[in-house]
Amino acid sequence: MGRDHDHADHSKLSNVERRVRALETVMTQKGYIDPAALDLLIDTYQTKVGPRNGARVVARAWVDPAFREQLMRDATAAIAELGYSGRQGEHMIAVANVPGRHNIVVCTLCSCYPWPVLGLPPVWYKSAPYRSRVVRDPRGVLAEFGVTLPANTEIRVWDSTAEVRYLVIPERPAGTDGLSEEALAALVTRDSMIGTGLARAVGET
């Protein structure tokens, strides 16, 4: 994928596209990268890894108290049990939202994010507005996501400063008692697992 454009008119490339192509070409010609490995990496992070993984973890935690207990005690092992592990998820901690307490995750220094369960981070997570403000004014940032929490809810912001990665377990929405695990997972948004959102209510899109 991608290399069929190798002979495109280079004058039409932006400066950054030219730089990526130059780097890729030089590294490939020197034998430092396997082009097939590069294609596989691109495909993995575009189609294989994403927040639906994390949503399955959350839904399982909602329906299975023993799994939830294990998740809160040893998230790395519990998440691996569902098949998600590895790069940027080597040391996982799950933090659960409960009535009166809300968790939000950030990496103020770069873009640390639990790839195996959430995929690659959205642009806003890596950008200066979120990284600078959420540690100082979490309610103001939540308002920009359309989220208002009760005034007496405690807010904990987790700054991912080392190699531990955090997954927020949102509160299970009301009125979901009869739902299957799969239907529950569909209510779990990416933002709800970062803490900048809440799980969807039934019927909400």
């Binding site: 990268i33 990496l41 080597e90 220094l109 507005p129």
Partner: protein
């Protein structure tokens, strides 16, 4: 020359509102997934480590004017030049001009799945007992580091409480400087927002972060 990280922006103001985006949007140009994949594939050569990569990115002078994958690309170009994987004239020309030096490893397609699944755990056997225990009050180092560090500026010289002992982990500060893994005890430390932001702090707000033992002293 003093070490300046342009990435240490926690608590700063003036960057404008957050712009949320839909869940499906991960890449916004076709070069972005390539820059991301190049970062992983070239990292796998072992020519540098993750902390060196972070250091290369955060010291880009125009860091705050770049998109995130532009930061990754700029960091990668710096690293390949610094580690002699390419010369500036080769990156300008877009072709090989000099004989390649050997690298530690080349990530092959049939290894990608296993390498990603394995990851790179940073927990190591501790060299000694942990100095702090949960519930203990600690104060963070007040002075800026003259090298890559993972203690953000807004958390310097602050008092908090040890919440969790996370084991001994590769120490980013040493690792980034090429001084080896130097494993140190890592702790989750919690600070009340009032300790960080004074009277403007929101009641009931706290910030936690992960701090290696050398960042901390008993308070």
């Amino acid at each position: 020359m003093p070490y300046v990280s342009h990435a240490d922006i926690g608590g700063r103001s003036g960057f404008g509102p957050v712009v949320p985006e839909p869940e499906g949007a991960v890449f916004h140009a076709t070069w972005e997934p390539r820059a991301h994949a190049l970062t992983i594939a070239l990292g796998a050569t072992g020519s540098w480590n993750l902390d060196m990569a972070r250091s290369a990115r955060e010291t880009l002078p125009d860091y705050l004017n770049l998109s995130y994958y532009e930061i990754w690309l700029g960091g990668l170009e710096k690293l390949v030049i610094a580690k002699n994987l390419a010369t500036p004239d080769e990156l300008t020309a877009g072709c090989v001009l000099h004989a390649p030096a050997p690298v530690g490893r080349v990530l092959k397609a049939d290894q990608v799945g296993a390498v990603l699944a394995k990851g790179a755990a940073t927990e190591r056997a501790p060299a000694g007992p942990a100095r702090f225990r949960p519930g203990q009050r600690v104060r963070t180092r007040a002075t800026p580091a003259e090298h890559h560090t993972r203690l953000p500026g807004y958390l310097r010289g602050k008092t908090g409480v040890i919440e969790r002992v996370l084991g001994a982990h590769v120490f980013a500060d040493s690792h980034a400087q090429g001084l080896g893994e130097d494993p140190q005890w890592l702790y989750t430390v919690v600070c009340d927002a009032a300790e960080l932001w004074g009277s403007e702090a929101t009641p009931g707000h706290s910030v936690s972060f992960d701090a290696w033992q050398p960042y901390l002293e008993a308070a």
